[in-house]
């Protein structure tokens, strides 16, 4: 099959999207390098470190969703956004609940299981 020639608008779109992927890749790269670099080379306080790792991870998830999976706030993409948000709600309830319940339990009954 021969390659299709793009009309002007399509060519422009293609360029934009390509740039989008590159942006996504670059941002994700930075957000990966920061936590790895911190853990490998820099000695900082643990709590700060964990928060940074968590923050970078969250940011990177959003970058992936935005630039690789094209989830945006645009009207016609709401359906998926809502689906994802609902999933996040359920995740927060289930995972948060799990941690809350079990660590409370450890504190009262199983101190050996505290990390």
């Amino acid at each position: 099959m021969s390659r299709r020639t793009l009309n002007e608008q399509e060519a422009r779109e293609c360029k934009t999207e390509q740039r989008n992927y590159l942006w996504g890749f670059g941002l994700a790269l930075v957000l990966t390098l920061i936590p790895f670099g911190l853990v490998a080379f820099i000695d900082i306080e643990r709590m700060t470190l964990w928060i940074t790792i968590g923050g970078c991870a969250l940011a990177q998830v959003i970058v992936h969703l935005r630039f690789f999976m094209h989830i945006t706030l645009a009207k016609n993409k709401r359906e998926d956004l809502l689906l994802i948000l609902f999933t996040v709600l359920i995740l927060v309830i289930m995972c948060g609940g799990t941690l809350w319940i079990l660590f409370d339990l450890y504190q009262r009954m199983l101190p050996g299981m505290m990390p």
Partner: protein, 701 residues
């Protein structure tokens, strides 16, 4: 055992046969239990043989294969789901009655061994939840929901077949476990460490694990299928807030399946890793923690009970409206209440283990969340009552179930609120009080819902009404039998009798136990009445024919087509302008009209995927239970190849030409014209052939 046989048969040996122990040990207890187990196994084998002989004798193998097993039609798949549910229901009820009889004689002993009793409550619970309730409601949603939203089929018909295949495989596995015993004794919840290899090395727990896993996979796929269908395949004009309430509850149930099943997959998957690969997730040693299992199981378990109860809510909403001759009261509020219940049901799972040992404030939080669910549920009850208020109520069979439901379910709800109080729960936890509570929700709620749905939609699916006299008998037997069986259990629970007890030593329990035993007999009568009802209805099917399709003066779209509906459901997709779409049509005198022109209809083609996946799923599960690794690997490979090969298939649809659609539609319209419209007072007579008189002025609000 030699190496070769163990390579082929794994750990399956002669001792798996239910009468084996009886041959070696002649003590009365062993013999009695052996005879009972052998009888059950014999019934499974005979039943299977009888089915095979019957189909062969009738020469129906080809028909069965091409019209049913490989059919992607959501209506046929729905019916097959329901058939599985009814078969499993019969078995589970017989087991329940056996347990009640044991406990009736259980003062200082009884006739069942603890082992046997353990298998009974485990299979009863597992079957009732995973192989009766789930297939039943899946089947009914499968049948009704696409008709209600004006679609021709589900979004993924082949995946629907696969769901059916997986459920059938799981049910078959539970049936096989009667012949090649034992089944688990760990209860339907399968808590470790009791179900760990260290305490339960046999095949029983593995049967339970894989049967449940097959069912879980099936339900996850079903949930996705239903949700996507409702979101994407509604007829033009069928906005979300014009959908019938049953479809709304189907949507919420589907969402609960999608998000509620994964925790169970995780729990059983990790338990399987413990048992097969020597992991230590839930073991008592080496840092395992069984509390994690309890937490995961109930993160599934509570959404699950709402998977079970939401569809009945939808069914009763349709039934109250139809048989009161009124529009449902508070449609929008009922929808919102359904959504609230669905979301709240993810926030309460800890109420199943208040006594695990976490702090009081956590118990309080989850207890309050639990009580909150009472609010939307209460709203629903009032809406149903207000629907009946000043309606022209017809006490049909579905309506008897519905009224039985509303009274008993409210009672069960009250005891639920009692149990949601952690300090009270500490007292009655794990007692028969709990058993009484959840049967009080499940029998009047789920089971009555399913049975009234069957009475309601049966004429749509088969073209003839279910006979009412036996229907009433069954309904009243169910209601009375339920009360006799389970109200005493509240008392027994308060007196301190633990659940899952094979015997007891308190003479005070006896009168209550005997009452419950009598109740179980009434329930057995109910089951027999149901069978009689089916038999009599089939016998009189010509007299009770309702081909015109609308025997109850229905309100929603499924009544707008013939009974049974054509394969493609609608000759042209309807346009919707309001809720109660069909009633509006009838009110405007626009029912039963021929479309301007017909077009070719594209329908999914038959496929063997469901059968293949069902068989390989069963083979894999069976191999895993008995350690026949060649079977596991072989069946796994076949599955993989089948799935990949399916991707290469391109002819996945077939076309029904427009003239054929026209011919069958016009034939039906002609029949409708010839059908005598009847008044509601003749609804239960042989005059009812499925065409109601037009609504009188003002009857439709």
């Amino acid at each position: 055992m030699s190496d070769a046989t163990s390579l082929i048969f794994g750990r399956l040996g002669w001792d798996a046969l239910p009468f084996w122990s009886m041959l070696h040990d002649h003590s009365p207890m062993t013999v009695i239990n052996g005879v009972i187990a052998t009888g059950a196994a014999g019934m499974v084998v005979l039943g299977a043989l009888a089915a095979i002989v019957l189909v062969t004798w009738l020469g129906k193998w080809k028909y069965l294969w091409s019209e049913w097993l490989t059919s992607p039609d959501h209506k046929k798949i729905g019916i097959m789901f329901i058939v599985i549910a009814l078969v499993m229901l019969s078995r589970a009820i017989i087991e329940a009655v056996l347990m009640r009889v044991q406990q009736t004689f259980g003062l200082d002993g009884g006739f069942l061994t603890a082992e046997h009793f353990g298998e009974l409550f485990t299979t009863h619970g597992t079957i009732m939840i995973f192989f009766m309730a789930m297939p039943f409601l899946t089947g009914i949603i499968n049948y009704v929901m696409p008709l209600q939203i004006g679609a021709r089929d589900l979004s993924f018909p082949v995946m629907n077949q696969v769901s059916l295949g997986l459920t059938a495989a799981g049910a078959a596995l539970v049936m096989i476990s009667l012949v090649l015993a034992p089944f688990s004794t760990g209860g339907w919840t399968g808590y470790p460490p009791f179900t760990e290899l260290a305490y339960n090395p046999g095949a029983g727990v593995d049967y339970w694990l894989w049967a449940v896993t097959l069912s879980t996979l099936s339900s996850t796929l079903t949930g996705i299928n239903f949700a996507v269908t409702i979101f994407k395949k509604r007829a033009p004009g069928m906005k979300l807030f014009r959908m019938p309430l049953f479809t709304w509850t189907a949507l919420c149930t589907a969402i609960l399946m999608i998000f509620g099943m994964p925790p169970l997959t995780v729990a059983t998957g990790l338990l399987a890793l413990d048992r097969y690969l020597d992991f230590h997730m839930f073991t008592t040693d080496l840092g395992g923690n069984m509390m994690n299992y309890v937490n995961l199981l109930w993160a599934f378990g509570h959404p699950e009970v709402y998977i079970l109860i939401l569809p009945p809510f939808g069914i009763f909403s349709e039934i109250f409206a139809t048989f009161s001759g009124k529009r449902i009261y508070g449609y929008r509020i009922l929808v919102i209440a359904t959504m609230c219940i669905a979301v709240l049901s993810f926030t309460v799972w800890l109420h199943h283990f208040f006594t695990m040992g976490q702090s009081a404030h956590i118990n309080a939080a989850f207890g309050i969340a639990t009580m909150l669910i009472g609010i939307p549920t209460g709203v629903k009850v009032y809406d149903w009552m207000l629907t009946m208020y000043r309606g022209r109520i017809r006490l049909s069979v579905p309506m008897v179930y519905a009224i039985g439901f509303i009274m008993l379910f409210v009672l069960g709800g009250m005891t639920g609120i009692i149990l949601a109080t952690p300090s009270v729960d500490y007292q009655v936890h794990n007692s028969l009080f709990l058993i009484a509570h959840f049967h009080n929700m499940l029998i009047p709620g789920l089971l009555f819902g399913m049975l009234s749905a069957t009475n309601f939609w049966f004429p749509k699916a088969t073209g003839f009404r279910l006979e009412e006299r036996w229907g009433y008998r069954a309904a009243f037997c169910w209601i009375i039998g339920f009360m006799l069986t389970f109200f005493p259990l509240y008392v027994l629970g308060l007196m301190g009798m633990p659940r899952r007890s094979v015997a007891y030593f308190e003479p005070q329990y006896l009168p209550w136990m005997i009452t419950a035993g009598i109740g179980a007999m009434v329930i057995l009568c109910a089951l027999l009445c149901l069978l009689m009802q089916l038999w009599v209805s089939i016998r009189d099917r010509h007299a009770n024919n309702v081909f015109a399709g609308d025997p109850w003066d229905g309100r929603t779209l499924e009544w707008a087509v013939s009974a049974p509906p054509p394969e493609y459901n609608f000759p042209v997709l309807p346009e919707i302008y309001s809720i109660d779409a069909f009633m509006t049509e009838k009110d405007r005198g626009q029912g039963w009209q021929a479309p301007d022109h017909y077009v070719d209809i594209e329908m999914p083609a038959n496929s063997t995927m469901g059968v293949i996946i069902g068989i390989t799923g069963l083979a894999m599960a069976f191999g895993l239970v008995w350690y026949m690794w060649w079977l596991v690997i072989g069946a796994g490979l076949v599955t993989l190849v089948a799935v990949i090969a399916r991707g290469f298939v391109r002819s996945t649809t077939r076309t029904i030409p427009a003239h054929e659609v026209q011919r069958s539609h016009e034939h039906w319209l002609e029949q409708v014209r010839r059908t005598n419209p009847i008044d509601r007072s003749l609804e239960q007579t042989t005059a009812n052939h499925g065409r109601p008189v037009p609504p009188i002025e003002g009857a439709v609000q």
